[in-house]
């Protein structure tokens, strides 16, 4: 059985290790038809919440995910699914904020 190849838009030609992990985890668990990721870390490198942080180059990301895994889930549940997948990144790798647009295929088609 063939599965469709997800369309993945990375933040740059050479994404950092955290971005690559995010992509890996989301792709393997959510099987998204579309995943776009942008790195906004530079906009936040000096803000109060990051005082003393060692990771300021891959701390803030913005993602758009289209996945059938989100069907029947409200927004907090969808975001929690993603947060849970990235638990280690948030707790141990200095991932600090994730802006999310989480949609199902049907919602995109509307």
């Amino acid at each position: 059985m063939s599965t469709s190849v997800p369309e993945i838009v990375k933040s740059s030609e050479n994404p950092g290790p955290i971005e690559l992990t995010i992509i890996d985890k989301l792709v393997s668990s959510l099987k998204p038809s579309y995943l776009k990721i942008a790195n906004d870390s530079h906009k936040h490198a000096h803000h109060a919440g990051l005082r003393g942080a060692s990771n300021v180059t891959e701390s803030h990301f913005r993602i758009e995910v289209v996945s059938s895994e989100f069907e029947g889930k409200n927004m907090p549940s969808r975001h929690r699914v993603v947060y849970q997948l990235l638990d280690d990144e948030f707790k141990n790798k200095g991932l600090h904020a994730l802006q999310m647009k989480t949609k199902t295929q049907a919602e995109v088609a509307k």
């Binding site: 906009k43 936040h44 803000h47 109060a48 919440g49 927004m75 907090p76 975001h79 929690r80 947060y83 849970q84 990235l86 638990d87 948030f90 707790k91 141990n92 600090h96 904020a97 994730l98 802006q99 999310m100 647009k101």
Partner: protein, 171 residues
Amino acid sequence: MFSRGLLNSSRFVRRCHGTHSIHTNHQALANAVKTPRVQVRLLSTEIKEAIDKAVESSKVVLFMKGTPEFPQCGFSRATIQILGQQGVDPEVFAAYNVLEDPELREGIKEYSSWPTIPQLYVNKEFVGGCDIIMSMSKSGELAELLESSGALIPEEEEAPGSADVKVSERS
């Protein structure tokens, strides 16, 4: 600038100015929190109860970075702006500054199973973070939720001292 309309209301400011902080003497947890590698998921009963109280302290409760007057993070700022535009009644609003309190900052993440700040609660129910609030405000869901929860400024209210509040700015 965020200091427009409702947010100029001195009641709003006063109400949230103290940004009640959660004090506990639980040294063990305090130490654990300060050691980033000790990633034990522990939310002591004491802290959980303190957060319970915070969540119950008002109809609309926001855990944020900084204060409503001086947000220290763009996402917290955006959320405060939206709540102001929606016409949230300062009388039923409370904000807690997680930057003032490391135990609250870590504790609220476990409490809500939500790793980021800000976090909004309405009538003790977790609503979401900045993205969700923003999208709910665009779709009209947030207005509905706040309305049905009785969290908006009463329409006919003309309390003394609130004449400068531009209710007409409500969408």
